[in-house]
């Protein structure tokens, strides 16, 4: 090393040759004693990744559309054995339980506007008036019904249809002469 470098380095070394106070280490130890003990290294990132993956799987399973799988029981009916007259019979004790998807579909169908059976308002009023009159006794329907009793439809006897066999005459043989109109 160059002598100038030597003297320069010596100077810097002297300038840096400062010792901490004797209490320094004790102060550091006291400060560290207040800290929680260091724990052995654990790959927290690995645990975190595993936890995140589990959470994703759980959420995916929870949100997955529950399709009706083949073989799945549509109507679960609790059966209980009752012994009446000494013979064991299976009696249904519950209403059939529909799967959630089926129940939702039915509810949707119930709410959805379906084409109504359209009856003329006059006919509706007439029918109501007729029913009310019959209920109140103002109108006796029995004689009317007797008079207009619908007779049993007697269909005419079915005639036997004879279908004559169709005979197709053979086509006349070709004369063999060209240019002759037939």
């Amino acid at each position: 090393m160059h002598p100038m470098n030597d003297s320069l380095d010596d100077e810097i070394t002297r300038a840096l040759a400062v010792e901490p106070s004797p209490e320094f280490l004790a102060r550091v130890r006291t400060r560290i004693a207040a800290e929680p003990a260091p724990r052995a290294y654990r790959p927290w990132w690995l645990l975190g990744s595993a936890a995140a993956a589990c959470a994703v799987v759980v959420v995916a399973v929870a949100l997955w559309p529950r399709a009706l799988r083949p073989g799945q029981i549509v109507s679960r009916t609790a059966l209980s054995a009752t012994s009446t007259s000494g013979i064991g019979t299976l009696v249904s004790t519950q209403q059939p339980v529909l799967p959630a998807r089926e129940a939702r579909r039915r509810e949707r169908d119930r709410r959805s506007p379906e084409p109504e059976v359209l009856i003329a308002a006059g006919e509706v009023r007439a029918m109501r008036a007729l029913i009310l009159a019959a209920r109140d006794g103002r109108l006796e329907l029995a004689p009317s019904l007797e008079n207009t009793a619908v007779e049993a439809a007697s269909s005419p006897p079915i005639e036997t249809i004879d279908i004559q066999p169709i005979t197709i005459a053979p086509i006349a043989p070709f004369s063999g002469e060209e240019g002759v109109r037939q």
Binding site: I12, L16, V28, A37
Partner: protein
């Protein structure tokens, strides 16, 4: 079951005790290094001690990942340097160099004044260096680190350390010549 948990707890206690022992060893061997690095920036004993203490507390918290000696010292050097620089920048109350470290009181007045002046000139020259040159020249003059030692502490190739040392010395010489 109790036997298993007792054994498990015992192993944790043993691990913690091992960590404590290792950290104590690192603290004893590296305390002066951390203090001097902080002092080279702050040039105030109390401030340097506070910064070094802070660095050791941070090292203690992350000690499970810093059990390797070289890794610990390199981490400590970088952390102490960074904390000291931050403190120097943030501490606007101490802008003058009047609080510069006083040499030991064994010098008589004249010699002390000369020494103070020389030290002040040197520190001014060191302060004028770019940060990466400053850290290299400081580390090379603490605890007699050679080029390989400084390279390990800074995780740099030895060639880079060598060139930075050369540049730092050149600039220091130029500056000291100018201010002579």
């Amino acid at each position: 079951m109790h036997e298993y948990t007792d054994r498990l707890a015992g192993s944790f206690v043993a691990v913690n005790a091992d960590l404590e022992r290792e950290f104590e060893a690192r603290l004893v061997e590296s305390s002066t290094l951390a203090f001097r690095i902080a002092f080279s920036v702050l040039r105030h004993v109390q401030d340097a001690e506070e910064v070094a203490q802070e660095a050791f507390v941070k090292a203690y918290r992350a000690f499970s990942q810093l059990r390797d000696r070289d890794r610990f010292r390199a981490w400590l050097v970088r952390m102490t340097w960074r904390l000291a620089i931050d403190r120097q920048r943030n501490d606007r109350r101490r802008i003058s160099r009047e609080r510069m470290y006083e040499p030991a009181p064994t010098f008589d007045g004249v010699v002390a004044a000369i020494e103070r002046e020389r030290a002040a000139r040197l520190w001014r020259a060191i302060d004028a260096l770019p940060e990466k040159l400053r850290l290299v020249i400081v580390l090379a003059n603490i605890e007699g680190h050679d080029v390989a030692g400084v390279a390990r502490l800074l995780a740099l190739p030895p060639g880079t350390v060598k060139s930075r040392l050369y540049l730092a010395r050149q600039r220091l010489k130029e500056r000291l010549e100018c201010t002579r």
